[in-house]
Each structure stands twice: as structure tokens, then as C-alpha cells.
């Protein structure tokens, strides 16, 4: 939904990414507006993760252009990219935590090392504790990632991504391989972050259920639970967009109702609950 004040957080303009013989992204054009939620569905190895890494500038496209907050990043040098990355939070598939650092040091990492970040040690400590309280892991400060369960590692990954209060959050398969209860906890955190700070949220997933959470539910701060949002697919004025990838190509793009009505058998497979 292109509201009056909304501009694009992320724009892909005919982007192609190749690895040797494999084409990971094939002529992908996509726009995600600020404040919007985007659910990216697709089978394994369909280019979903590559899309997120290209958005961060970790992978440079072979053709096409990528814009982040209206700025083209395709040919930016690494140190300029770092400044843009500071506005993006990324949660990697398995959390991507640094094994050699404690949970506290992991979450403090962007505050300490991001270019332009100058925080006093007490400020770092306060924000780390706040971020860990957000994911309800404030008791694990001194632990190492290897001592945590898979779900906890991802929660720490979320804490590390939100600690800098970024404007755009990218989640790479946040619920993959988790039991339904833990998956719910993770999705609740993603919605909590989205609905309290209105950050643009992009979630890559293989489970349609995650998309339903994002499009139909919202976080209720009074009881800390997710509840069905009023209206159809609109939460807080921003729509949830669904995107389906097939072998590096965009197979579908639209709202949830459109997705469920889509006749394409591949796309329809994802729309089944």
C-alpha cells in the first residue's frame, strides 16, 4: 500500500545474481515500502536468503540495481555500505551468533563496532539488557551461544538485530526447524518488534502460518499476546505483502487474499494451511 507518506525501504530493480553456473536470483523486481511487512515464501534454494543478503550488500548482483531507503547500494564501496547496514537489522537462519563471544558481547557487538557508534559502556550495558529483556533472555548474559538451545539462539539473534533500533528488519527463516511452541514465541517477538516500533519487516519463511501471523495478527502490549487484528490484512495502516519465489524468480506478489486465490499450483501449495 503506497500511503501518502510511505517511501520504499527496499527496492530491487531487475536484479540477477549468479554463482558460477547457478542463477540464484533471476531478473527480480520488488518494492517494499516503509512500515510494511513482507512475507517471502519459497522452497529451499529458491533464492530467498540470497535476496536478503543482496539487500544488505553482502552479495553484489551481476545485473540490476538494489536501493535501500531510496539509495542505490549496488556499486557502493564497503565502508559506505557499512553506514547503510547500520540502519538494517538482520537475523540469520541459525542466529549467526559469534561462538567465541558471550551472549552479552554478541548483543553489544553492533553497539561497539558499528561505524559511527559511540556509546559509553554503561549505555551499551543498559541497551543490551533492554534488548535481552525484550526477548526474555536477560538471565543469559554470561552464557556462550553453545550453551543455548536453538530457539534461544535465535532469540539472542533477534536481540542483536534490534539493539540498534534499525528501520528495516530482515529475518531469514526464523522458525525453520523449531517446534510449534518455540516458533510461536519467535513470531510473537517479530510482531512485538514490528508493532511497538513500526519497523519495516521482511520475513523469509517456508511456513505459510508465519505469514498469517504477520498479516492477520498484532501484538497486544497489555497482555503480551498476539491477537487477531481488525480489518483484512492491514495492521496499523501498513499492509502485509506476500511474495513467492520459485527457482530464483518471482512467482507471485500480492496480498494474502490474492495469494489464496492464485491458480498457479506451485504458489497454491504455499497458501495451504
Amino acid at each position: 500500500m503506497a500511503g501518502p507518506a510511505s517511501s520504499t525501504a527496499l527496492r530491487f530493480d531487475h536484479v540477477t545474481v549468479r554463482f558460477d553456473e547457478v542463477t540464484a536470483l533471476d531478473d527480480v523486481s520488488l518494492e517494499i515500502f516503509e512500515g510494511e511487512s513482507c512475507v517471502i515464501l519459497g522452497a529451499a534454494a529458491s533464492g530467498k536468503t540470497v535476496l536478503l543478503k543482496t539487500a544488505l550488500g553482502l552479495i553484489r548482483p551481476d545485473a540490476g540495481r538494489v536501493y535501500v531507503f531510496g539509495r542505490e547500494i549496488t556499486r557502493l564501496p564497503e565502508d559506505e555500505l557499512q553506514r547503510i547496514r547500520a540502519r538494517i537489522g538482520m537475523v540469520f537462519q541459525e542466529g549467526g551468533l559469534f561462538d567465541s563471544l558471550t551472549v552479552e558481547e554478541n548483543v553489544a557487538y553492533p553497539l561497539r563496532y558499528q561505524p559511527g557508534a559511540r556509546y559509553a559502556p554503561e549505555e551499551v550495558r543498559r541497551r543490551v539488557e533492554e534488548a535481552l529483556r525484550f526477548v526474555e533472555l536477560e538471565h543469559t548474559l554470561e552464557k556462550f551461544p553453545s550453551e543455548l538451545s536453538g530457539g534461544m539462539r535465535r532469540r539472542v539473534g533477534i536481540a542483536r538485530a534490534v539493539v540498534t533500533e534499525p528501520d528495516l528488519l530482515l529475518y531469514d527463516s526464523p522458525t525453520a526447524g523449531l517446534d510449534p511452541i518455540t516458533a510461536y514465541t519467535i513470531m510473537a517477538l517479530i510482531l512485538k518488534e514490528r508493532d511497538t516500533r513500526r519497523a519495516t519487516t521482511v520475513v523469509v519463511t517456508q511456513r505459510y502460518q508465519d505469514g498469517v501471523w504477520l498479516s492477520d495478527f498484532r501484538y497486544n502490549p497489555s497482555n503480551g499476546r498476539l491477537e487477531l487484528a481488525a480489518g483484512d490484512g492491514e495492521v496499523g495502516g501498513a499492509a502485509t505483502r506476500f511474495v513467492v519465489f520459485r527457482e530464483g524468480r518471482l512467482a507471485f506478489q500480492g496480498s494474502r487474499a490474492e495469494l489464496e486465490g492464485c491458480a498457479d499450483p506451485y504458489v497454491a501449495k504455499f497458501a495451504r494451511r
Binding site: 543478503k53 553482502l58 557499512q82 547496514r85 538482520m90 537462519q93 561462538d99 558499528q114
Partner: protein
């Protein structure tokens, strides 16, 4: 044929790109001093026991072997001189570098390799740090500082090892051994003996980090890079040693 050549050529190119960046970063901010000190501890202090042992025994063995040859010329008195020259010029630097390559090139490759396959390297970049600056340059600086120091220790212990043989088996006096050892050494020997570990440090750190960064294919890939890093670093130490020696020993 071209397809066969492509991967190694690409790998060499990647190696030089990484080396260039790592070396350029030495003069660039930010400097991760904590990481440098941590690496100096793992590489330097961690390698101390094996360097001490190999240094001592290689000196002792050399003294034993040389005695046999020196006896035929009736020049057993020159044991100190020969041990000193071979150790300081050749054996000390090369053996120490090989030991550290075995321990640390493979260590760096496996550590960075596991970070690569678990997306920690990507995370590092996503969180605003340059992995070359944060991982490779500290290892390079640490190795370049520590390896010459380790070599000095190995040289000294090798001389002690040689002395043990000379004193207990050959019944030489301490003055005889140490004087001949001391007088045999020239400044150019010391220089050669210190420039070598400095050069080998680049091989050890950069080869280890390069194979770490190149790792693909999960845990199995980490094992592969670990082995490769150690083998390639060891071979290059010998090759580089030949060229440095050739430069000093003008025939």
C-alpha cells in the same frame, strides 16, 4: 583444460586480494588491539612448549650428527660453531615456522572456516565490521610479532641442546662451546635468521585465513580447508626459505 585451471587460478587471485587488504588494513583504523593481543597469546604463548621442545632436541641432534663428520677431520671443537650457524640461519626459523604452521595455520583455517559456514562472517559484515580487519589483520600482526620471538627462543634452546651434547658426551668445556658458537655468528646471520620468520609469518597467517575464508560445504569443508592450509603453508615456507637463502648466499 581451462575448467581445470580455473579454480586454482581464482584461488590464487583471491589469496592476493585478501593479502593486499589485510596488509593495507595494518595502517588503517579501526585497530582491534584486543584481538591482536588475544592472537599473540594463542599463537605465541600457546606454541611455546612445542617450540621449546623442538628447538632443544633439534640442536642436540645436530650436535650429535655433526660430531661424526667433524671427528674425521679432527675438528670436534668446531661443534658450537656449526650448531650456531645452522640453527640461526636455517633450522631455527624453518622448524619454528613449520610447528606454528601446523598449529596455527590449521587453527586459523578451522576457526574462520567454521565462522564462514555458520554465517558468522556474514553476520560480522551485516553488523558493520570488516572481517578482514577484524579477523585477518590481527592474526597477521600477531604472527609477525610473535614468530621472530619464538625463533629466537628456539635458536637459544637449540644452542643449549647442542651444548648438552658437547659438554656431557664430547667433554668440551662450556667456554670452548659458547665461544666458538658466539664467534661464528655474524650480523648477516642474525639478520637472515630474523627476516625469515618475519616472512614466514605472512605465509602462516595469510594462508590460514585465506583457506578459512574460502571454506564452503559445511563441517566437511572446514576439515578440508584445515588440512589444505597446513599443507600449503608448510610447502610455501620451504619455497620461500630457498629464495631468501639464495638472496643471502650469493654463489
Amino acid at each position: 583444460m581451462l575448467d581445470l585451471l580455473k579454480p586454482p587460478v581464482l584461488s590464487v587471485q583471491e589469496f592476493f586480494v585478501l593479502s593486499g587488504r589485510a596488509i593495507r588494513n595494518v595502517a588503517r583504523r579501526p585497530h582491534y588491539v584486543d584481538d591482536i593481543i588475544l592472537q599473540m597469546d594463542t599463537i605465541g604463548v600457546g606454541s611455546l612448549p612445542i617450540v621449546v621442545l623442538t628447538g632443544f632436541f633439534s640442536g642436540a641432534v645436530m650436535a650429535l650428527q655433526l660430531t661424526k663428520a667433524l671427528m674425521t677431520y679432527g675438528a670436534v671443537g668446531k661443534t658450537g660453531e656449526l650448531v650456531a650457524i645452522t640453527l640461526v640461519r636455517e633450522m631455527g626459523p624453518v622448524l619454528t615456522a613449520l610447528m606454528v604452521a601446523g598449529r596455527n595455520s590449521s587453527g586459523m583455517a578451522s576457526e574462520i572456516g567454521s565462522m564462514k559456514v555458520t554465517e558468522q562472517i556474514d553476520a560480522m559484515r551485516a553488523l558493520g565490521t570488516d572481517p578482514t580487519q577484524k579477523l585477518v589483520t590481527p592474526r597477521l600482526i600477531a604472527t609477525a610479532i610473535v614468530l621472530p620471538l619464538l625463533t629466537i627462543i628456539a635458536d637459544f634452546l637449540g644452542l643449549v641442546g647442542g651444548f648438552m651434547i658437547a659438554y656431557f658426551l664430547l667433554k668440551m668445556t662450556p667456554a670452548q662451546y659458547w665461544n666458538s658458537a658466539w664467534q661464528a655468528l655474524e650480523y648477516s646471520d642474525l639478520f637472515q635468521g630474523l627476516i625469515k620468520p618475519f616472512a614466514f609469518a605472512f605465509v602462516i597467517a595469510l594462508v590460514g585465513c585465506h583457506y578459512g575464508m574460502q571454506t564452503t560445504g559445511g563441517t566437511q569443508g572446514v576439515g578440508r580447508s584445515t588440512t589444505r592450509a597446513m599443507v600449503v603453508a608448510s610447502v610455501w615456507i620451504f619455497v620461500l626459505d630457498f629464495f631468501i637463502t639464495r638472496f643471502f648466499v650469493g654463489v
